[in-house]
Amino acid sequence: MIEIKGVYFTYPTGVEALKGVSLTIRDGEFVAIMGSNGAGKTTLVKQFNGLLKPAKGEVLVDGVNTRKVSIASLARKVGFVFQNPDNQLFCENAEEEIAFALKNFGFKEETVKSRVTWALNLLGLTQYRQTSPFMLSGGERKRLALASVLAWEPKVVVLDEPTIGQDFEQKERLRQFIVQLNAQGKTVIIVTHDVEFVADCGPRVVLMAEGKIVADGNAKEILTDKELAFKASIVPPQITQIFLGLADFGLPTDVINVHEAGKILLDFLKEEVKP
């Protein structure tokens, strides 16, 4: 469980990025943190593994104050996948890249081997086992970064903008993957601008604006609220916008994904327009 209690944070440059944020994320939850550029999302998630420490207030991970322990020991519990994979890849090949963290955490030799194989397989990277990370495509590098974190099976996985630069197929796979991770009992926290992606996953949504949390609820509530969306400069999913426009026909306005929409429309047409 991650508890954020009245956290304030200011960068050395004087930018006040968090202004009193309180949030509790329970074990096994699936949370999407959304909001405009510069809202403080990255700053907030960096508090979860102690990369940044609050100036005021406190962050507790499983009851342990992040100020009191090292980043490495927090990282064991909270895996963090950075927005830009180039910030972390440095090894000769994919295999070593994944083994790096495992060695840091002091896993046994055999465990390291089996975990590496497992993680490569998990993200469809097995054929790149001996390939230099720098030769991989952007999307593949991103998956390798993810694999290198999942390998040590952290309890909580934080993904900063995981969908950027992924083609449709990879995005869909990523979505299934994330949902599956969550179903296995992992806490998953994603930071994203991709409303359609969130609509398809249907997690709890935490909306941020200017260093504060402005809304917190399930995806349906948050994504169909036009005013809220405007405040945090996100746009409701396209399908929601259509349904908001069709409200006069007695259609529901809280539709966020295409499958759901298809069913409702089909039922509606069957009723109204008899062939």
Binding site: L51, A72, A75, N84, N87, F90, F105, W152
Partner: protein, 261 residues
Amino acid sequence: MSVFEGFRFRHVSSPIHRLDPRVKFFYVLVIFGVAIAFLEVLPLILLFLIQIPFVLVASVQREWIRSLKGASFLAILIFVVNFAFGYFGGFYPSSMSPWEYPLAMSLRFLVLVESFSIFFLTTSPDHLSLALEQSHVPYEFCFAFTTAVRFVPVLAEEAQTIMDAQKARGLELEKGNFIKRVRNYIPILIPLIVSAIRRSLELAEAMESRAWGATEKRTNLYVLKMRSADYTLIAISIGMVIISIYVRLFITIPSLTMLLT
């Protein structure tokens, strides 16, 4: 990274910021030369002090103090090494105490840092490039130079992000003996270098595709012109040269040891 902050330009307007960079550079060179010419503590202290008004007029005291703080470690190192060699090897002028010569060496270093810090704190990379161009340095070099200067803080920020990313994978920088610690920096240096190279290639492509170097003869929107303040600074600099030559040739500077006893 705070050492970089002590050299990083910020847009402020002050009489010092408006000075012609060529003149400022000349002044820095003069300070440099004078600092090399003297090995006595007194003139070096003087040299250190006469630059403080510049710092105050330019109101960059916070950054300036930062740069000195960053340099103080090296200054202390210089003192210790020189003292050790002088004291145990007996290499110091007989008119001085063993601590005076090392003190002068580290003061000299501080004076140099101080003057370069003032120069970079008050000269925008654009002005610097203009100055180089108008001194007939080929434009490619000017551009490369100013780009390099401009990317230092970007690189420093990136290094921070990379450190964060590796710490999140359980890397502990402060762990192990000396060699292990140095090796701990490999996971930071490699991504940093790779991304710097990648960025420079991307920058080159972006520039080529925006027709960089298409015109043979470049003209500038702004042209540097010397003003009265610039001539004043030149006069001051030349004055300093003359005075120090005179002092060097005709006056024996008492050592601190002699004054104190």
